[in-house]
Symmetry: C2
């Protein structure tokens, strides 16, 4: 079930030389509550400079997105161009400029041309329709192999829907940069609380995945809540809020896992689950260290239950640990107990787990209650090929 009160359109504007769809518009029937999370990279693309203060007002009605050019490292002209695309969209929709967000993804360092926007924005507005967000998801793709859409539906007393659309397959190419995610709901919720829920959901989804450890200049997650379902306001501390948070978390985690599965060259999606850490920060740091290790990721590709690389990556993560307490298992197969190998039979069984496309590596530190997961892909020849050959 799509959330009510949203319309979508997409076109091939000509920014992409391939003539594939590369520009899309999402419009809410009314100004929605909104929340946003942006890249922590200090090199920030022009659309983020323009969109961040708008999202901070807590209200948004339209999102204009293009692929094929990231409008990053483009100087003052890049910011001016982003402002102009906002003005064109607001004028065509007949709404305030402050209600328009813009996002870009694609080549870094190449000036973003305005003419494709001048030509295409009127067409995007004219073709807006409810129904499917598939065309939008397609127009956002760069190196993505498939569109990424996830949804949730609440069917209680106050029914509503949540729809998430994302793109990204790693940092990836700064030429083909960026993780973008737009989440739309027709639930009613204030922007401050929405921002709080978004931060929590991002921590356990998009901030817990890694393809190559690189962070793009354009990463953006926006959530719009337009209240079009007609339900009650969802307030902090209520059961309804907990239900909404669960739905939001699940939609975003589903999208995050899709991004890892679509990681450049990825053949596997592996959950690195750290339990028994001193606290959740330690658990997250250890999981991240293992998930981003090139050696661990290469071993996954080689289907090698190489726990030495895993334990070493935990060791240099900087967390509190006692190496003599560490247990490691692959799915249900224990392979290390108290920091020492259990034996070759277990390693052989773990080798069979590694042949699967998805599996879970559980690392128990036996120090406390801290628990966190990271999702990662394998590192293989195709990753090298995609990233070495792209611009040549």
């Amino acid at each position: 079930m799509l959330p009510a009160g949203y319309r979508f359109s997409a076109v091939a504007s000509g920014i992409k030389k391939s003539k594939k769809p590369d520009m899309a518009l999402i419009v809410s029937d009314c100004a929605a509550s909104c929340a946003g999370v942006f890249t922590r990279n200090q090199v920030i693309a022009a659309p983020l400079v323009v969109t961040r203060p708008r999202i901070a007002t807590g209200r948004c009605q339209a999102i204009l997105v293009n692929s094929g050019n990231a409008n990053a490292c483009t100087g003052p002209e890049g910011i001016q161009c982003a402002e102009q695309t906002v003005a064109l969209t607001a004028a065509a929709l007949g709404i305030e400029k402050d209600l328009v967000a813009v996002s870009s993804t694609g080549v870094i360092g190449v000036p973003l041309p305005l003419p494709p926007f001048e030509r295409s924005i009127p067409q995007l507005v004219a073709e807006l329709q409810p129904g499917s967000a598939e065309a939008v998801a397609r127009a956002m793709m760069t190196t993505d192999a498939f569109t990424k859409i996830a949804g949730a539906k609440e069917s209680g007393d106050n029914p509503y829907g949540i729809l998430g659309i994302a793109k990204g397959a790693g940092m990836i190419h700064p030429d083909m940069a960026t993780m973008l995610c737009f989440v739309l709901t027709d639930a009613r919720i204030d922007s401050d609380f929405l921002q709080e829920l978004l931060h929590r959901a991002v921590a356990d989804s998009f901030n817990s995945i890694t393809v190559d450890g690189d962070t793009s200049t354009n990463d953006t997650v926006l959530v719009l809540a337009n209240g079009a379902a007609g339900g009650n306001l969802i307030c902090p501390g209520t059961a309804a809020a907990a239900v909404f948070a669960d739905h939001l978390n699940r939609v975003m985690l589903d999208l995050a896992k899709m991004i890892v599965s679509d990681g450049e060259g990825a053949t596997k999606m592996v959950q690195i689950r750290v339990i028994g850490a001193k606290d959740v920060d330690d658990a997250r740091a250890a999981a991240r260290s293992v998930a981003t290790s090139s050696l661990v990721k290469t071993a996954f590709f080689g289907e090698d239950a190489n726990w030495g690389r895993i334990i070493a990556a935990v060791g240099y993560s900087g967390i509190t640990l006692d190496q003599d307490r560490i247990d490691i298992s692959f799915d249900s197969i224990p392979i290390v107990a108290s920091g020492v190998a259990i034996g070759p039979e277990h390693e052989a069984q773990a080798g069979n787990v590694l042949k699967k496309e998805t599996f879970v590596v559980t690392i128990n530190l036996h120090l406390g209650e801290g628990e966190a997961s990271y999702y990662t892909s394998d590192l293989n020849y195709d990753y090298v090929k995609i990233n070495a050959d792209y611009r040549t």
Copy 2:
């Protein structure tokens, strides 16, 4: 010129199934001043547990090293075995146990067998001779493609020599882990001052290189100064100390660069030089972020002057920066000025620089006087092959 008063030997003890040399002994004629730096990984191999407190006494006369087994993640039995190898060496040499250091490199998590040591240590002692350290360097190799030896010679009023021997080609395999480096000099210098000089030299050499960003459980650098050259004591704050520090730094930087050149699958050795940072810590953090980026390293392999990846890696390094001030050049070719591309002609010229085996990427942040370099290799198919296929 080899430093005086050291003897060497190496044998094939049978730890390596290949029957290649895998055990070596370095002995000083008298107890030498010593200093050491060990892995910051919290998962620490048994030989480090045993050797660290010995080096802390400031005196050392013999170093026993084996390849083929790292004696890491081997529990209390591993520590006991390391202690036994110390005892065997001390007995065969007729010296105190506290004067013997041991190092291991190779497979993680497999018990280290004592019999090869029982058989080989008497032979190693019997065959000790001055002359060449080549056999020692060879016996330390695991995935290394070549032996790594560097030297320096001071020929002033107080002449002395410095000899450095290293192994390592990345973390690399925790199966085949570890960076090891032994530096021998016949200069006279107290252990406390030697330790201070070593810390500084390591910061600009072994702690400024990266192949894959992983840190092994066994990394060890030891320096012995036996005074056999008969010169004056080298004291802090003197001209002689500055000269000695320069020699030590250069020997260790030479070895560090050899390790990067021998990085698994490496075809290029690239210096990432950050200048104009707020301070040296910022410069180091930015250089490290660029040098460890999989995307940057893959672009080097693709010989692609992909500055977008470089500027993005600077951006997520967490340092103070102003993206509108960043300049980037490849060797002498400027490619980015004030955060924006200079133009396609410069990118084409920079592309020619990337065809070289070694080159320098200079990133000027224009914020202060901070300066630091990291040395890195490219990431390519062979890296994946070596690391994915090893245990299969």
